[in-house]
């Protein structure tokens, strides 16, 4: 432990420089790809899939801000997704917002509603921990879904229709895609800011040992609730965007248990608690899922392919892709260090010395 530790510490300065450079380069490439995708690939199928993928990348990143950093596994973010959706749909209907760009203006409102919903939700759910928390979030999720079914203003089972967007069919997806992309970038920046902030460190400390964190003056309740709201906001906006794109919001799709699970799956697959993990997870899962569903639809075949791929990944990289790969790298580094170390350590043998 000690020797390698010392070595890495020594080896850091040049390493970080190199890494910084590469990191910057990769981020730049990522942004470029994100930026020009629909311009290069004009095929509507691709852009449509890209839209949904970007939406999920954003949603999972947002989810990760809470669940990834605090270690609380939330399976209720569909509540924010749906509430954001309904907020935008109702606003558009009741304030007679005409289709087109105007509706995008409503998204922040959707986000705010979601964040507002997160307050009572969090106040109740965050009293519990671990498995109990998981189930409480599920329960609250169902309460919202059933409410959407039974309450009048949601339009019940017929749902609510959103305005038509007068975009040209061939490039119809692009405005939606870019709005989603903007939300995604902002969310990632937010996630990064949280990660390096004092607030973020407090979240991580809660993940590791909540009681001790309290004992060190961390206002755990407030921090958790704040993180919950923060992660709800983007999800609410994306919900509004998503249902504007779909055109109609039904209770069972607004509050969809599969959405909850998907977020968790994508997060874990990529590796929660990291910034890139959720992005990776969503990128792979959502795009592949849509692609498979289209291509290998025939009686359950795509389910089998999907499942097998999934298990394969887990087998190779238990603990998520990003941490998994990182682990491999670390082990490899240590091993190489040890080889070099062994030569050096050969000498001290004699130290186990006799008393004169």
């Amino acid at each position: 432990m000690i020797h390698p530790g010392a070595r890495t510490a020594a080896a850091r300065p040049p390493g970080t420089l190199l890494r910084r450079g590469l990191l910057g380069g990769v981020i730049a490439v990522g942004l470029v790809v994100l930026g020009i995708f629909p311009l290069v690939v004009t095929d509507p199928t691709a852009t449509s899939i890209a839209f949904f993928t970007v939406v999920f990348m954003g949603a999972v990143s947002a989810w990760n801000i809470f669940s990834g950093y605090s270690g609380y596994l939330a399976l209720g973010h569909a509540v924010f997704f749906g509430s954001g959706g309904y907020a935008v749909a109702l606003a558009a209907r009741d304030w007679h917002v005409s289709g087109g760009w105007a509706v995008f203006g409503l998204l922040p409102f959707g986000g705010l509603i979601a964040a507002a919903v997160a307050i009572p939700f969090g106040l109740i759910a965050l009293r519990t921990r671990r498995h109990t928390f998981v189930v409480v979030t599920i329960a609250i999720f169902f309460i919202f879904q059933l409410a959407a079914f039974n309450l009048g203003f949601t339009g019940g089972t017929s749902g609510i229709q959103l305005p038509f967007a007068p975009f040209s069919p061939t490039t119809y997806n692009n405005p939606f895609y870019y709005v989603a992309a903007i939300i995604l970038v902002l969310t990632v920046i937010l996630s990064w800011a949280v990660r390096r902030s004092r607030f973020g460190l407090q979240l991580l400390s809660i993940r590791d040992d909540e009681d001790r964190a309290r004992g060190l003056g961390v206002h755990t309740r407030r921090v958790k609730l704040a993180a919950f709201m923060i992660s709800a906001f983007p999800v609410g906006m994306l919900g509004g965007l998503y249902f504007y794109f779909i055109g109609q919001i039904f209770p069972q799709y607004a509050y969809d248990p599969l959405f909850d699970v998907s977020l968790a799956l994508m997060g874990f697959l990529g590796g929660i608690g990291t910034i890139s993990g959720p992005l990776l997870g969503a990128l792979v899962l959502e795009s592949l899922q849509q692609y498979f569903t289209q291509k290998f639809s025939a009686n359950g075949l795509y389910l089998i392919i999907y499942g097998v791929l999934f298990l394969a990944v887990i087998l190779i990289l238990p603990g998520g892709v990003v941490p998994g790969v990182a682990g491999l790298v670390r082990r490899w580094r240590v091993r190489t260090q040890r080889q070099s170390a062994e030569a050096a350590d050969a000498a001290p043998r004699g130290v186990a010395g006799a008393i004169p």
């Binding site: 902030s197 004092r198 607030f199």
Partner: protein, 543 residues
Amino acid sequence: MSALLSVQGVCKAFGGVQALQACELEVHEGQINGLIGPNGSGKTTLFNVITGYERIQQGSVAFNGTEITNAPPDRVFALGIGRTFQLTRIFGRLTVLENMLIATQRRESWLRSLVRRAGSSAERRRAMELLEFVGIARLAGEPAGTLSFGQRKLLELASLLVADPSVLLLDEPAGGVNPTLIGHLADRIAELNRAGKTFLIVEHNMEFVMGLCHRVTVLNQGSMLVSGSPEEVRTNPAVLDAYLGGAGDGGGARDGGGARAGGATREPAPPAREPAPPAREPGPPAREPAAAPAPAAAPALLTLRGVYAGYGGGDILKDVTIDVPEGGITCIVGPNGAGKSTMLAAISGLLRVRRGEIAFAGRRISGRSPREILDLGIALVPQVHSLFPDMTVRENVEMGAFTIDDRALVRKRLAAVEELYPIVRERAGERAGSLSGGQQRLVEFARCLMLEPNLIILDEPSMGLDPHTREIVFEMVTLMNRQGRTILLVEQNARAGLRLSTHGVVLENGMVRLTGSGRDVLEHPEIGALYLGGAVTADAAVP
């Protein structure tokens, strides 16, 4: 001088057990207060009550004139009361440095904290200084989870100091920390105290407490027994009776309660040593570790040859070569993070040996599963609690014979063990989790005896035990040895440990620094200064 922190008439019960009984405590500003008492006398519970981890129905806690009864931990900390935990608690997945950046007394809104970067350069510098002070600065970049027990304790203390609270509640700061470090610790506490900090310290190391504290409070069965200057307390018969145990120990406390405890148990010892008399002789003082002490008389039962092992691919043990002579007690000492616990893990098969070989009674055991090694007759009692908290004491002990299907034999052994450890019978039905630290130790011993192992490996058996219990534990160790079992012992209370032992091994940075008979090591000039600590502590501490 007004009381800075005062506890009045606090009662706290868990189920039927009355942990605190109308407990009174006064901590005066600028003082170092010792809080001592037998295991299970409610010291830790009192800490929990003060710092808001346990709620109370009766009694009150006041700090600096403000009522803080049942105030939440974060508020208590914000007011300036910081505490450490007996079983250290650190943030395992954060780096050591990050651990240092969490503590805060700033009442800042989460929005503010969201835009503030974690750890300004100033904070980081301060953090590094403190890490330097406790001597783990070189690990700043490592995940805290990889630290050894002692290192965790140090990190915990350091991470507390960052926010510099005005009162520090330390729960066994010296437990599991190597003697030399205890010396430095005492110096620093004294220094901080001169700088105006108030301390309340729970500790079983009498040398430490008596040398350092201005005032000592003794708890017994949940209420205050006496409170006064170290001298008063030390000479108070009630205390001797309830706590310090073994007569005359009080007087010599300055010389190390542990040492006395060791001494106390040495009297019955000699006959015990008959199996391996040569070990008692000074013997050929210096020798290669390869050659076991007095090979003729006591052949090596366990041998390590050029062993490399460690976690996550890195080596902690480097080329360790040791012999554990049959029928003796071998004690391993060394600074924190020297790899003592790692070595025991490697022996018992919990940790893979990467290079070299471990042999037991001539059979190679490195590379075997814990189960196989157990079946060969090696039992390990680990450092931290290893009981199954949710099972009864009886169940726990019976689990010791898990690998035996013959129920009759199990019952026979159980009876035998109950003979040796009455507690097993007395508390048979209770949940093991509800026992005090010392009682749990004894039950762990009892459990490891169920398989009648030839080699018993004990990791810090005396850690966290009051002197009285510690005596009992050490007696048990010699007793087990007397019954023909070879003992391999890691003991932070090095003096006591070595006095007890026939052989000593000094481990440093995962390498064997020295081997010899217990006495050789004990009396070796440089070694003594290096690892056993001296009376240094006390002198330095007196303001």
